[in-house]
């Protein structure tokens, strides 16, 4: 059996979410990783440095001098049509916002991983989900959106890495994997994706005719830029971006439902919170409360229509986040006042327990419903 066949045998491995991202990046033919160490995601670059993919696939791995620099290296790599990525945690991702805005406007495909920790400021190194606004409402300047994937398991860390590159190149837009310190640090079973070869330069020239690979005499220069001093021209670029975002909203919504079919109460949560909430929903069911869980997998595009449909079926909703309540705004916009939408959250690096969530569900949603009726 040759090496490549051996590599593609489906094997179950035990590893951290951060490690799964690194392995998946190498396996999906990533061309370049550029990063800067920050807890709780440093294992991504550490794993890549141990894997030494420059000796196998030829992938470039480089430790930059700052997150500002690493996101701009991603800009440079993506501008050449290369599969480029970076990873960081909350304070580092704040530093990247300038570059992300430029990448979104220049319409370059790339993958950014944020393994969130508690903020604001230097905050803590414990897990948090308080970068939701920054991720889906536009953390940098100008009108742009990031496709935002919210993995809730080590398996999804690997799967989303592959999917993120596919979406990035499909829509020519940066894709954010929004994980948190729990998903990054915990170890779980994972089946790694099969090896895909890195694309050849001929393939890049064919699939990314805009890439700056050097100008043959047969074409005009390729210019990667986000600058346009004419207001009309800049508005045209903005309109094109908005059309793209509407298309993404129409085509790419992903979510998971758990015990939702006959649910009278709907819990909405993503990432680590969704895992806690799934347990809370099981406990509620054991007590005879008909609860269900809706887990958005894409935060942009947000499952607005799906949540809206539940507004006509359930008596109340509870959004659970490791933040002061950010995604709850989008749930309320989807519901538009038809049923009460309550919020429960913990901040500063604390992960809520299933008991806390169940209590919140009973007190904030179920009890209120009983009182009102």
């Amino acid at each position: 059996m040759n090496d490549s066949k051996k590599q593609n045998i489906e094997e179950v491995r035990l590893m951290k979410g951060n490690e799964a991202i690194a392995h998946a990046a190498v396996r999906c033919g990533c061309d370049g990783y550029f990063g800067y160490p920050i807890t709780p995601q440093s294992e991504i670059m550490e794993t890549l440095m141990e894997l030494e993919p420059w000796n196998t696939t030829g992938m470039v791995v480089l430790q930059a001098e700052s997150e500002t620099s690493s996101i701009n290296m991603v800009y440079g790599g993506a501008g050449c049509g290369k599969k480029s990525m970076t990873s960081s945690s909350s304070p580092g991702v704040s530093l990247m916002q300038e570059g992300i805005s430029y990448i979104a406007c220049a319409e370059l495909p790339c993958v950014i991983v944020n393994v969130m920790r508690g903020g604001p400021g230097l905050g803590t190194i414990q897990p948090s989900q308080a970068d939701y606004y920054q991720s889906v409402k536009g953390g940098g300047h100008g009108d742009y959106k990031l496709i935002t994937l919210a993995p809730a398991s080590v398996q999804e860390m690997a799967d989303h890495t592959v999917m993120a590159f596919d979406l990035a190149f499909k829509y020519l837009t940066p894709v954010l994997i929004l994980a948190d310190g729990v998903i990054g640090q915990m170890m779980e079973k994972v089946v790694l994706p099969p090896f895909q070869p890195r694309r050849t330069e001929a393939e890049i020239r064919e699939t990314c005719p805009w890439a700056t690979l050097g100008k043959p005499s047969s074409r005009k220069p390729n210019i990667i830029t986000s600058l346009s001093l004419e207001a009309e021209e800049m508005e045209t670029i903005n309109l094109r971006l908005q059309r793209k975002y509407r298309k993404i909203e129409k085509n790419e919504v992903l979510l998971e439902e758990f015990s939702c079919d006959d649910a009278e109460y709907l819990v909405v949560a993503f990432g680590t919170s969704a895992r806690v909430c799934q347990k809370a929903v099981e406990m509620a069911r054991a007590e005879g409360i008909k609860a269900g869980l809706l887990r958005p997998i894409t935060l942009f595009p947000f499952p607005t229509n799906e949540i809206s449909r539940y507004a006509d079926k359930v008596k109340g909703m509870l959004t659970v986040e490791m933040s002061a309540g950010q995604m709850v705004d989008d749930v309320r916009l989807a519901v538009n006042g038809r049923v009460p939408v309550e919020f429960y959250g913990r901040m500063g690096g604390i992960v809520p327990s299933p008991d806390e969530v169940l209590k919140a569900l009973k007190e904030k949603v179920v009890k209120r419903q009983l009182i009102e009726n």
């Binding site: 701009n72 991603v74 050449c80 700056t212 210019i223």
Partner: protein, 253 residues
């Protein structure tokens, strides 16, 4: 003699490089940028590297450099050109990758990117235009503005106590192990233009030979920002800029 006989190739003593576009330049008359652009175009043509070159444009007056040279370009955020160039060169090691940056871009907001790219010894060429002022935004103080030099944000002249010292970043870059060639040139006379051309060509060749980072600073005029005529600017540059930023090679390995 007919026109066609006059313009026959054997009579041709000077021509616009083919790598230069016909787009009229936005640079002010008397500005050094145009001359340096032309030199880069000539060198790319002479090296036969048009298909193999990727330029990284800065933010500043040269933000539109990509309009004038018929090669692939990426336009960077302010100061970040060396980070882009790092990735482009590492992912495309057979290409010629250069950045074109002004003093505000390279020596203020992009200091970290510049120093670290040079210290890693990225195989790129950095073309650094130092005119001691922010031209694009209308003549504000730059990191390289001379002590006593007036700008719109140092209207009474740069005062060390108030504004700090000018930064000789090129001298600093010459100290780094990653740089192989660091030189300071100008383009105010025919002889200096020729020397600068030689320097840029050497920088490009170094990066293709994998010798490390080459830095070519060109002490330049900004007659609009300096509020002098093009001719007076050249005199002012010789009398004031050159003593602070003396010309010549600082490192040549």
């Amino acid at each position: 003699m007919t026109l066609n006989e006059i313009i026959s190739p054997e009579n041709l003593v000077y021509d616009k490089p083919k790598v230069m576009n016909d787009t009229p330049m936005h640079y002010c008359p008397g500005c050094s940028h145009g001359v340096v652009h032309k030199l880069i175009a000539e060198i790319i043509e002479e090296m036969d590297f048009q298909e193999k070159t990727i330029g990284i444009a800065p933010v500043g007056c040269a933000v539109f450099a990509y309009k004038y040279l018929d090669i692939d370009w990426q336009q960077a955020a302010h100061g970040r050109a060396p980070a882009l160039a790092t990735a482009v060169k590492r992912l495309l090691p057979e290409r010629l990758v250069f950045t074109y940056q002004g003093d505000g871009d390279l020596a203020a907001i992009g200091t970290a990117e510049t120093i670290h790219a040079a210290n890693r010894g990225e195989n790129i060429a950095i073309i650094f235009i130092n005119n001691g002022i922010y031209g694009m935004t209308g003549g504000q103080m730059a990191p390289t503005t001379l002590v006593g030099m007036k700008s719109s944000t140092s209207p009474n002249g740069r005062n060390v106590q108030l504004n700090g010292n000018p930064l000789d970043i090129t001298k600093l870059l010459a100290q780094l192990d990653g740089t192989c060639y660091v030189t300071r040139q100008s383009v105010h006379t025919v002889a200096s233009v020729r020397k600068t051309k030689k320097a840029i060509r050497k920088a490009f060749e170094n990066s293709m030979e994998g010798k490390g980072t080459s830095v070519v600073e060109i002490v330049s005029t900004c007659n609009s920002g300096w509020k002098l005529s093009p001719e007076a600017s050249n005199v002012w540059m010789v009398e004031n800029m050159f003593p602070a930023y003396p010309l010549g090679d600082m490192k040549d390995l």
